[in-house]
Amino acid sequence: MIFLKFKLKRLRRESAPDAAFKVALRSRLVGSQQTLAYRASTPAMRYAFATSALILVVFFGTTSYAYASSAVTEGDALYPVKTKIEALEGRLKKSPEAQARFRAKIMNRRMREVVHRLRHDEPLAPRTVAGLAQAMNMSVAELDDLRQDEAGRALIKTEIKLKMIESLTDFRSRVELSDMPEEQKDKLYKLIDFRLRNIERIETTAPLE
């Protein structure tokens, strides 16, 4: 039994998370918060810490809102916070399928932001359109790069492809129903149709449903 326990100990060591991963994830999740916690050792520091904590609570409440809301769009003061959190989220996605899903999600977020603007009759800034085009490009490229070397991955690729087609088509009809100037509509149609054609060309080995 001693040898068995020894081998289990080895298996435990072998299955431990990579140290770099542990540190990276920790610093992303709690790094800034931890720094504040360590500093609160003297009364003056505790006061400062309480103030910082309050700011932190407000900050994190705000960041959650910034991240989750489609109402936070290009030009909004919170928009850089939103894109920073997204970038952080993207860095945590390591497997190719997680990256492809993430890119598709970002494309959907950009489209929802445009829809929000349309609903509120807000004009589309050139940077909004550029951001949308970039998100679409990255999403299509990530899907195209996703290898189908495994049956499961092929299914995921097909699934993402179908969802992207569905959301782009839905977005197109929302643009069509909106009151935006025809010229602007045409611009968006071009963006959407070009990506739709590209996506349809992407080969998937799993059958399309």
Partner: protein, 163 residues
């Protein structure tokens, strides 16, 4: 809250990672993705977490759900406890290179019944105490200790067959 989450992360990261790793065919990249997801969800819900539920039970429930969702996304209906310790990756190849004796151990582990495997995994790989395992399994600690001993004896026998 900030310090609490850091402490919480330090205490549970290894166990969560191992739990996930053994259920995704030992695919490190995937295990890291899912583990990151688990802790991101935990951070989002940390403020509303009820400590009376037990930290370990809570984070492991999140991990369990994330692994189930991963396999569901792949359209594979599996029992995540049944596939634990399976060495074969999704491409039919092993995802890890291990020394022969550790490979035998994994193979033998895969042959145990899910319940026996869970006992050994929780005790020797995830670092649970008998009291915690008993609570998870709604049993008496004494009974869990005996069952773990039996599972270890069986594992030892299986290891002999492999060698």
């Amino acid at each position: 809250m900030a310090g609490d989450f850091a402490k919480f992360y330090d205490q549970h990261l290894d166990a969560v990672y191992r739990f996930v790793y053994f259920r995704v065919s030992n695919n490190r990249a995937l295990a890291e993705d899912i583990t990151a997801d688990v802790f991101t969800s935990a951070l989002a819900a940390f403020e509303s977490f009820d400590p009376s539920r037990g930290e370990k039970a809570w984070i492991m429930t999140i991990a369990r759900n994330k692994v189930i969702n991963h396999w569901r996304d792949k359209k594979e209906a599996i029992d995540i406890d049944e596939i634990a310790f399976s060495l074969e990756g999704e491409n039919g190849l092993d995802n890890v290179e291990s020394a022969d004796d550790i490979r035998h151990l994994r193979e033998a582990m895969a042959q145990l019944k899910p319940h026996e495997r869970a006992l050994i995994e929780q005790k020797y790989l995830l670092g649970y105490r008998y009291k915690e395992i008993a609570k998870n399994m709604e049993k008496q600690p004494g009974a869990v200790r005996v069952e773990t001993y039996r599972a270890m004896k069986k594992l030892k026998e299986l290891m002999k067959i492999h060698v």
